[in-house]
């Protein structure tokens, strides 16, 4: 009879010590969860085990009679503990709801901290989660980091579908690599499977216009279509010798769809074409094809021409309108810059024009094996920007078959040579379909079955939007097509030259919605000498002396 209470007592005493394991386990569990950021089985299990231990201890303590629970102070402090817990929980819940349904009033005069109505509308109807990744140490001293975060905070407040994360690329190299970041400060936009590079924060902060437009683009289900003309020995889109498979894959990554285009079977350039690429034809194009391309350009289309030497694509009638002449000679680069791999017939370019396509290139290299120079004659209304310029030591060789390549002042042209040019002019809205009144009714039924399956509802607003503003015809001519083919595509900047050209031609990066950046109100403080004196005296002398004086008087009186 006496045995049982003693064992019970010793058991209870051992539990006294076990109790301490409870809080310890809870702390371990919570820290494990917080550190790993993963609330898996282990941290949760540890925490629950700790709570259970504390609970068991409390139950054991509550044995009637003597002990901890018997005391009145215990009862009081339990009451206090419970009510404190209740108050904390209630306040926590109120705050939770407060954050959930937060309202914000912007009292600044220019509404500096309020998003433009366009952005708000787009965020309100986000169809899928969108996330912005900023690859930058959150504590980096970049002056653009703070405003960018504040802007992203505003976006986040508008929509629960929007999220952003700052990632230190050094701390998470795997993640950084999966995005293919090139520099600290890169900002990427992600929606579903799609990822898009937005900008780098090194030189400029993120602005609302760009972010909203990018969100609009990445969430819209319509993809820009890039058509590759086929049928004259152009580089195929498949992965074969001289193919464009790498280019196609990277275009896909940038949310472009690449499709072959046969202008002999098809009557006109499809309406949903964001750009047409003519990549290294070996034979001449038919007159009709050139006419269609011309008509397409006149309506505000975009064409990328990549024409190798020793080929006459019969595009002169088209190129004449833009003032472009394809030089029949071969660009030779015999300077120190020539690459051992390709020889003097592969000009290496490290000078680029001031243009959206080449603006980030600096003086890095791109290679164009067997290229032809381009010559320009200015045409009123056409804006031309040289893109690719060879070194001054290069020249255009008229007799490339000659054994020893050297510059002959008579027939050859001294560099620098222009290997690529970007041109643009406003499309003539007066002649939208003048040359092709007959094909257009025929074209619409033929084109619609191709386009109808998925994107048929979406292109219609696009075209109507495009109709409203004066559209621009864009043309990029490069005297070489090999630079973009498999193998060479990954060399140096070659891929970027191609992708940026397509991107510029597609007009996708033009701001669809014009959102003016928020600006401070221009305001100055011009104090008179009197005012300045008054403020100086008040702040530095009168007020402090008032305080110290009063203190002194009080102290004196107390004595």
């Amino acid at each position: 009879m006496k045995q049982i209470p003693t064992t019970w007592k010793s058991f209870k005493q051992s539990w006294q010590w076990l109790f301490w394991a409870g809080p310890v386990l809870v702390v371990i569990g919570l820290s494990a969860g917080a550190v790993s950021g993963n609330w898996g089985a282990v941290p949760v299990g540890l925490t629950i085990a700790g709570i259970v231990l504390i609970g068991v201890w409390l139950v054991l303590q509550s044995q009637p009679g003597s002990g901890f629970w018997g005391r009145r102070s215990t009862q009081a402090s339990t009451n206090a503990l419970l009510s404190t817990l209740a108050v904390v929980v209630i306040l926590g819940l109120i705050n939770f709801l407060g954050v959930r349904y937060a309202n914000q009033i912007d009292l600044t005069e220019n509404q500096l901290y309020t998003l433009a109505p366009q952005s708000q509308a787009i965020l309100r109807r986000l169809p899928q989660p969108v996330k912005v990744w900023v690859f930058m140490d959150p504590n980096s001293p970049n002056p653009n980091s703070g405003p960018t975060q504040a802007l992203l905070d505003q976006y986040k407040r508008q929509s629960r579908q929007f999220n952003f994360e700052l990632v230190d690329p050094q701390a998470q190299p795997g993640l950084a690599q999966s995005f293919g970041i090139q520099d600290v400060g890169d900002v990427y936009l992600e929606a579903g499977q799609k990822r898009q590079f937005l900008q780098n924060l090194k030189s400029e902060r993120l602005v609302e216009g760009r972010l909203t437009n990018a969100i609009e683009q990445i969430t819209s289900d319509r993809q820009a279509k890039i058509y590759f003309l086929q049928g004259h020995g152009e580089s195929p889109l498949e992965g074969s010798q001289g193919g464009l498979a790498q280019a196609k894959a990277l275009l896909q990554e940038k949310n472009f769809v690449s499709e072959p285009l046969n202008l002999v079977e098809q009557l006109t350039v499809p309406e949903d074409a964001a750009a047409v690429v003519v990549a290294g034809p070996k034979q001449a194009l038919f007159d009709k094809e050139v006419r269609e391309l011309n008509a397409y350009l006149q309506q505000g289309g975009s064409v990328l021409l990549m024409i190798d030497p020793n080929v006459d694509p019969k595009l002169d009638s088209l190129l004449k309108n833009w003032g472009v002449t394809l030089d029949n000679r071969l660009a030779i680069n015999a300077s120190a810059q020539q690459t051992v791999e390709f020889g003097p017939a592969a000009p290496v370019v490290n000078q680029y024009g001031d243009h959206p396509i080449t603006k980030d290139f600096g003086n890095r290299y791109s290679i164009y094996p067997i290229a032809r120079p381009i010559q320009m004659t200015p045409i009123p209304g056409v804006q031309e920007t040289p893109l690719l310029v060879t070194s001054p030591e290069s020249w255009a060789e008229s007799e490339p078959k000659n054994q020893n390549l050297e510059f002959n002042p008579g027939s050859d042209r001294q560099g620098p040579l222009m290997l690529g040019v970007a041109l643009s002019k406003t499309a003539q809205p007066t002649t939208p379909t003048q040359p092709s009144p007959s094909p257009s009714p025929v074209a619409s039924p033929s084109a619609s079955p191709i386009a109808s399956p998925s994107p048929s509802p979406s292109p219609s607003p696009t075209t109507s939007e495009a109709d409203k503003k004066p559209s621009e015809a864009r043309l990029v001519v490069v005297g070489n097509s090999r630079f973009a083919t498999d193998g060479l595509f990954g060399q140096q900047l070659n891929g970027d030259v191609f992708l940026n050209s397509v991107s510029w031609l597609s007009k996708r990066d033009d701001q669809v919605l014009s959102i003016r950046p928020k600006e401070d109100k221009n305001r100055r403080i011009t104090m008179t000498a009197q005012q300045a004196n008054l403020v100086g005296w008040l702040s530095l002398a009168i007020l402090p002396l008032l305080g110290f004086g009063a203190a002194g008087v009080m102290w004196w009186q107390r004595r």
Binding site: A34, G37, R72, S73, A76, S77, A80, T84, V87, V88, L91, I94, N95, G98, V99, Y101, A102, N103, Q104, I105, D106, L107, T108, E109, L112, Y113, P138, N139, E165, L166, E519, D520, K521, N522, R523, R524, I525, T526, M527, T528, Q531, L534, V535, G536, L538, S539, L540, L543, P544, L545, L546, G547, F548, G549, A550, A551, G552, M554, W555, R558
Partner: protein, 260 residues
């Protein structure tokens, strides 16, 4: 209800008398005014320099707005040091003098006492801050184009709200100990923690980090200073005030039984 109100007023008046008859309070006021005057002159010079630089590049620059932001930012830091000193003696002094038992056992409820004390110390803080508005107003009256005073008042409102939250929590810490120095140090540590919590939150990340980040005083004060009134921030400040009041009342309540 009227009894409660008159109780609060009685405590409030007693506290105020304590402040305005104490040389220490005036000394604190003198130091505060000297430092804030100094900060104001710095902020003003800084702003004028930036304005001159902006003139040279031809960029728009809102000098008045920048001045308000810079000055209120500095005031926030200064308050961080001054508020624990204000709240340290609220209960610790009573405990030291042995008058806390009287308060605890008096018919006046504990939360009425704490509310009265909080109102008293907050009023003192407001009297510290109000004179600053005078030279701020003189300076801003020289702004061209003229300034809308809403922003300035919102910022000062934010400062007072934040002060109330800190004082309330400081009052609780003061009720725990007999030493006012310890209370001040504890409050200072707590305030420092609540200020820097955002850095911790960004370190953790995810929803947990977000929840922790919401507790940051700095973030919500910064919002108000910038002229952005966010309801969630206001709710948080009020929550801190209520929590401080409640915990103080609880800790005095517990005192009754500890001594018995």
């Amino acid at each position: 209800m009227r009894v409660i109100l008159s109780n609060i007023v009685a405590i409030y008046r007693k506290e105020l008398q304590g402040y305005f008859a104490s040389p220490l309070a005036y000394a604190i006021a003198g130091i505060f005014w000297l430092l804030s005057g100094f900060f104001f002159v710095i902020a003003l010079q800084d702003t004028l320099q930036t304005a001159a630089a902006a003139d040279q590049i031809g960029q728009p620059f809102d000098a008045a707005y920048a001045l308000i932001q810079a000055f209120l930012g500095l005031m926030g830091v200064l308050s961080l040091f001054i508020l624990p000193i204000l709240s340290m003696g609220l209960y610790a002094e009573e405990r030291k003098r042995g008058t806390l038992e009287l308060l605890a056992t008096s018919p006046v409820t504990n939360w009425v006492v704490s509310l009265g004390k909080l109102l008293g110390v907050l009023t003192f803080f407001i009297t510290l801050v109000l004179p600053l508005l005078v030279y701020e107003a003189i300076t801003l009256s020289a702004a061209n184009p003229p300034v809308n005073p809403t922003l300035l008042l919102t910022g000062f409102g934010g400062l007072i709200l934040m002060a109330a939250a800190v004082l309330s929590l400081g009052m609780f810490l003061s009720s725990l100990t007999e030493s006012s120095i310890l209370a001040a140090v504890l409050t200072f540590a707590l305030v420092l923690f609540l200020w820097s919590i955002q850095a911790i939150a960004t370190g953790i990340g995810g929803p947990v980090g977000e929840a922790i980040g919401h507790l940051s005083l700095l973030k919500h004060y910064g919002d108000l200073v910038r002229g952005v009134v966010n309801t969630s921030g206001l709710i948080l400040f009020v929550s801190y005030i209520i929590l401080g009041l409640f915990l103080t009342a609880q800790s005095i309540e517990a005192l009754r039984f500890q001594r018995s």
